[in-house]
């Protein structure tokens, strides 16, 4: 269903009909995948990264707008876990009734840009944009999230930790659409917290951010999942620190998080927002605070 080129078309002109031509906005996933099978396109969701990235009135080149595709937005149970549709907007995540293990994701959703960004930006867009400071990543890493990718060739599921390969780099192939984020049921236990640090209150671009999920059984930490964003090329889990927390009493866990071990897991940058050394130390402090807050919340809950 390629639209015929207009004979008088100038470079950059697009067909005005949103369902055809250089700007495609299909309602059906199959149509979207067919279109990508014919050639790469800029994939557009909430637009909150695409538009700032162009100095033009409209992004250059052919566009596939996913916002009308049925079934890509929404949160719900699926076999073996929970699925967050890739086109789910931040505001809907912040307002969703989610298990305590995903409290960190909700907290992150409420701190992405301002309300305007939260009303437009999508979780899938955030992950595909693959900024080292993407707010969605630390919470999702602590729940072992996996990414569903679809193409005309089929479906595949990859761990989020593998999906993000570097700053602005992912495993998504040109003909693939991220359809959803899968969270295995095993990772939906426990409680979580997200903490973001910047130099101002709103519209914060992180200096550092952390997500922590703790599962406490019999008064001991049975699972600790810690992730730090904006302090490495991609957000990282901290297995060594997590291991140190295993079996600890929650109210003593924060004291087991040491700057040096956190720093060893990260490779922060020196830039205009903060020095590398500060970033690593701040990440450790944020982790301690997140863990301590979860411990005291847990104590209060008991």
């Amino acid at each position: 269903m390629t639209a015929p080129a207009r004979p008088d078309a100038r470079p950059g002109d697009r067909e005005p009909d949103p369902d055809r031509g250089a700007y495609l906005r299909p309602r059906d996933l199959g149509a979207a995948l067919d279109c990508l099978a014919r050639g790469p396109r800029l994939i557009l969701a909430g637009g909150t990264d695409v538009y700032p990235g162009t100095g033009r009135q409209a992004p250059a080149g052919p566009i596939l707008d996913l916002t009308a595709v049925d079934g890509l937005a929404g949160i719900g149970p699926v076999a073996g876990g929970l699925r967050v549709g890739a086109l789910t907007r931040w505001a809907d995540i912040a307002a969703a009734d989610l298990p305590p293990a995903l409290a960190a994701l909700r907290q992150a959703a409420a701190e992405v840009g301002g309300r305007q960004i939260q009303n437009a930006g999508t979780l899938g867009g955030n992950l595909c944009n693959a900024s080292p400071a993407a707010d969605g990543v630390p919470p999702l890493l602590t729940v072992d999230a996996e990414i569903d990718l679809a193409s005309a060739r089929g479906l595949r599921r990859v761990p989020l930790a593998d999906f993000l390969t570097g700053p602005r780099l992912t495993l998504r192939r040109d003909d693939e659409v991220m359809t959803g984020i899968f969270i295995p049921v095993a990772a939906l236990s426990g409680r979580s917290r997200f903490v973001k640090l910047g130099a101002r209150r709103y519209l914060v671009i992180s200096i550092a951010m952390v997500a922590v999920r703790l599962v406490v059984e019999g008064g001991r930490i049975a699972t600790a999942a810690l992730a730090v964003g904006a302090c490495s090329a991609t957000t990282r889990r901290l297995p060594a620190v997590e291991a140190a927390l295993f079996g600890a009493a929650p109210d003593r866990a924060a004291g087991l998080i040491h700057d040096a071990e956190v720093a060893a897991a990260l490779s922060p940058l020196d830039d205009i927002r903060a020095s590398a050394g500060y970033r690593a130390a701040a990440a450790a402090e944020l982790l301690r605070r997140a863990v301590a807050a979860l411990a005291s919340d847990g104590a209060a809950a008991r």
Partner: protein, 925 residues
């Protein structure tokens, strides 16, 4: 093969609408360009400022990030809509609270708030802050906006316009407020003539480079008809040099052969303004980048490359004030301290990037653009274009924030050049990046200073040396170099002074005017030294300042003997809040924990008007045959409130209510010169001219009625009634029967006022200003010692306004200045090439400005209008940063030597202080 474009259907402000064209286009552009709904403002095109906030199905989104395809079939509401009850309530509340100042963020604020009120009709302050956290405001400090949103549920009546004789002191709504809350105010980008040209500048990506232009004619021809014309320096008919201070003017409109800063324009391309995307790709320019000089210390070192051949050591100019023998005084001081501090480039970050349009009316070139200085624009642009000034008319648009940067020319000569050369109308709108890269900044300063007092705490000497990075071109560098030494002591009695400042060129952005002309940077150093000196002398920090505050009869560092000196009253007004704040901080700190509270105080003084130079204002006021008063008001309203304040002053001087007035201008073809909106001069200087002119008109009316000065005037349709109180005489002047001029004016008065000053001698001795304003602020905050973050708790601001003309507008100025001071202290750091957007360049959001208590002090100045008014606009920013820095010092014990105090810098300072303490360094503080 062309198919008709069926367009996208949507519901727009309750009515069906259709958008055509590229479905990927930004909704903001489509609303403004296709539908003429220019109430939706574009501040950044990147979702960083929220000015373009609209509602889509009731949800607030940035129209600049929304492709038009995504609103197909949906309900879009903009500020122009009349059907949204929440917006209607918010408009009234914004007017009531003075929540709109320049008005450029107002549409975005209103729409974001409307989305909140739909969910929460009576929001808390926290809810309002969160809902508006995505909309930046640079004028108001957010306090009035938040208050208005929280209060919008109330059915409060609009404040009545003050009665005759009661305008001064009235908390009246601003005269330009209604247009701003309705989205009708017409800013620089909001008016253009269709079928004209759209201008884009080709700018340097290098800090320093030589460049060559290639086959421009061939490039343009290959892109015809999209490209209509290209202009370079060779096309400029007059003098390709501008600069606000004529003897120092050095900046080319279009560079010739070399560029001296990143963002400098080398060519101007005129595209057909037909909706097509202008494309400067492949423009034939080749760059040979050179090693840039970006450090002012290196720039003045021997052997440094020279930016301008006639300025050895890259020295633009230096200023000095010397009084007494500072060396001896400090040597003999009981207590002496020394310090240094470094500040950053600060971007004005008004939410309206430079924008305007131009066209020909007969042989007169009309340029309508945002500006703070229409007459200066006219005179400079005329010289550039080789036009007599009579053939150039400047009409300031509504101005979406200026703060000093819109004093300089930006796009005016570019617009004029294109229109003159082609005969066609043209418009130009800077992108956010272009605005940030190419316009002026606050001067980065490197200051060293020493201060000393006697055993009783009385200041004996102050020695100040400031190096100011003035960037590539002169702009207002000379003013900074001259103003800083005059103000360096702060408003304190200082018998022995040596204050020196020099402005040095680098390949950084042009440093110019920014609210305070270098005085805020100087005050940071002086006030931090005062804290250390007070501690050394064992005197309470506030009492130390009160002890040394300038009083009537004291001489300043320039030898000027002061009268009506308000600083002591400001400081004394802080005594009660100071005691309370110290006690609260001590109570918090006694609990231990990772956070520490601190309290800081700092003062300001600031001379109103030009430094030792003439700066007259002229106001014309007329009585129409209809009975209306026409105020020809040439002072540019940039959000600070001059339209309203000057009218209030004129109304009481004339003896008619503000309601009887119509304002005309500013417009260089219609209004006399009321000078530039800078140097906190409009309320004082233009206000005084307005007062004098209004009194003159009153005298004419009374003379006509043959009644005495006690008579009361009443405006009626076509008549003025003049009545003496009691059993005195009464006359009715039938204006329609009197001869009128072509404008319908029956009586016209025009008066000027120029503040009396004298030149400064080689030691800076003289009377630089006729009037000073004073203030002091108290900051309370909490430092997170582990993260180095600062949370502001409250700021209490006492300012001497001489006479308060409009308390609501004054408080709005204070709150807005404080917000900018917060940015200066804690987050703003412009790095050319790195922070040319509002994403990386951080300015305070709703959540960064704490509650502010304003205390308005009135120590009337005999020179001021309305019973003694002083200027306020710049004063309010000066004490904020040093008060914050002193509070951080109080909380942590660290000595700040660099601003902004970003978290990593404060954390490093805390660690260093802890290490010094652990090392047994002692020494105290």
């Amino acid at each position: 093969m062309n198919r008709p474009d069926p367009g996208l259907g949507l519901t727009l402000n309750g009515a069906p609408a259709t958008l055509r064209g590229d479905p990927a286009r930004r909704l903001s552009q489509a609303l403004r360009e296709d539908l003429g709904l220019t109430g939706t403002k574009i501040g950044c095109d990147a979702g960083d400022c929220g000015a373009c906030t609209v509602l889509v199905d009731g949800r607030a989104v940035c129209a600049c990030l929304t492709p038009v395809a995504q609103v197909a079939g949906r309900a879009v509401e903009t500020v122009e809509g009349a059907g949204n009850a929440a917006v209607t309530r918010l408009r009234a509340a914004f007017l009531r609270h003075g929540a709109a100042q320049c008005g450029i963020c107002t549409p975005g604020m209103l729409m974001a708030a409307a989305a909140l009120l739909a969910e929460v009709p009576r929001p808390s302050r926290d809810q309002a802050e969160a809902a508006l956290g995505g909309v930046l405001c640079r004028c108001t400090g957010y306090a009035r906006i938040i208050a208005a949103v929280c209060d919008a549920w109330r059915d409060a009546p609009a404040a009545a316009s003050p009665a005759s004789g009661q305008a001064i002191g009235a908390r009246m709504a601003r005269l330009d407020g209604a247009a701003k809350v309705d989205g009708r105010a017409v800013f620089g980008a909001d008016l253009w003539q269709p079928g004209g040209l759209l201008l884009k500048a080709v700018r340097s990506p290098h800090h320093r480079a030589r460049f060559g232009l290639g086959d421009i004619a061939g490039w343009a021809a290959a892109r015809a008809p999209a490209v209509a014309a290209v202009f370079t320096a060779a096309d400029i008919p007059g003098r390709n040099i501008f600069g606000t201070i004529a003897p120092f003017a050095d900046q080319p409109v279009l560079a010739e052969g070399q560029v001296r800063f990143r963002g400098e324009a080398v060519a101007l391309v005129a595209f057909e303004d037909d909706g097509a995307e202008p494309d400067l790709a492949d423009f034939p320019v080749t760059w040979a980048a050179g090693e840039p000089l970006l450090d002012p210390v290196l720039a003045e070192a021997a052997g440094a490359a020279q930016l301008h051949p006639h300025r050895p050591a890259n020295l633009l100019t230096a200023g000095r004030v010397v009084r007494g023998d500072v060396g001896a005084a400090l040597a003999g001081a009981a207590f002496a301290v020394a310090g240094r501090v470094e500040t950053a480039f600060v971007e004005h970050a008004y939410i309206e990037p430079e924008a305007g349009a131009a066209w020909l009316e007969g042989d007169v070139l009309v340029i309508r653009a945002c500006t703070q200085a229409p007459v200066m624009d006219r005179d400079e642009t005329a010289a550039i274009l080789g036009l007599p000034v009579a053939r150039l008319r400047i009409i300031p648009s509504a101005v979406g924030g200026g703060f000093g940067s819109k004093l300089d020319l930006s796009l005016q000569p570019l617009l004029g050049l294109a229109v003159l050369k082609t005969g066609r109308p043209a418009r130009m709108v800077y992108s956010r990046a272009e605005s940030m890269a190419s316009t002026t900044k606050r001067h980065p300063a490197r200051i060293v200073a020493r201060a000393g007092c006697d055993a009783a705490g009385r200041m004996v000497g102050f020695d100040f040396d400031g190096l100011f990075d003035t960037g590539a071109y002169a702009s207002w560098g000379p003013t900074v170099a001259n103003r800083v030494p005059v103000h360096a002591t702060g408003p304190y009695r200082t018998p022995h002074v040596r204050a020196r400042a020099r402005a040095v060129h680098t390949n950084g952005p042009v440093s110019g005017a920014f609210r305070g002309f270098g005085v805020p940077q100087a005050a940071i150093m002086q006030e931090m030294l005062y804290d250390r000196l007070a501690r050394a002398a064992g005197i309470d920090r506030l009492e130390f300042r009160i002890l040394n505050a300038l009083s009537d009869g004291d001489a300043t560092a320039t030898g000027q003997v002061l009268r009506s000196t308000g600083i002591r009253a400001c400081l004394e007004a802080l005594r009660a809040p100071w005691s309370r704040a110290l006690a609260a901080a001590a109570a918090h700190n006694a609990q231990g924990g990772i956070t520490r509270r601190g309290v800081g105080v700092a003062s300001c003084w600031y001379g109103c008007g030009n430094t030792s130079l003439p700066n007259p204002s002229t106001i014309r006021i007329a009585l129409n045959r209809t009975g209306r008063v026409v105020l020809y008001q040439g002072a540019t309203e940039i959000g600070q409130g001059s339209d309203t304040v000057i009218t209030q002053i004129a109304a009481d001087a004339l003896g008619l209510p503000v309601d009887a007035f119509d304002l005309i201008g500013p417009d260089t073809a219609l209004t006399p010169d009321a000078g530039k909106t800078s140097a906190s001069r409009q309320t004082f200087v233009t206000g005084r001219a307005a007062e004098t002119a209004a009194r003159a008109l009153r005298a004419m009316i009374l003379s006509h009625a043959n009644l005495g000065d006690g008579a009361v005037l009443t405006s009626e349709a076509g008549a003025i009634r003049v009545a003496e109180p009691g059993a005195g005489g009464q006359r009715r002047i039938e204006l329609s029967r009197l001869p009128a001029d072509a404008d319908g004016h029956v009586l016209v008065a025009e008066e000027s006022y120029d503040p009396p000053t004298s030149a400064l001698d080689a030691d800076g001795q003289g009377v630089p200003y006729a009037v000073y304003g004073y203030g002091a602020q108290l900051a309370e905050l909490e430092v997170d010692r582990a993260l180095g973050t600062v949370r502001l708790l409250r700021i209490t601001a006492a300012h001497d306004l001489g006479r308060v003309i409009n308390p609501m507008l004054a408080e709005g100025q204070i709150e807005g200045g404080i917000a900018q001071g917060i940015g200066l202290a804690l987050m703003e750091d412009y790095v050319p090439g790195r922070t040319e957007n509002l994403h990386d360049y951080l300015i305070p959001t709703t959540g960064d400005v704490p509650p502010i208590d304003s205390i308005l002090i009135e120590v009337p100045d005999p020179e001021g209008p309305g019973g003694g008014a002083r200027g306020l606009g710049e004063h309010v920013l000066i004490p904020t940063a040093p008060a914050i820095l002193n509070a951080i010092g109080d909380a942590t014990g660290v000595v700040i030597d660099r601003v902004p105090v970003l978290p990593h810098r404060l954390r490093a300072a805390i660690l260093a202080a802890e290490a010094a303490e652990a090392g047994g360094g002692g020494g105290g503080r």
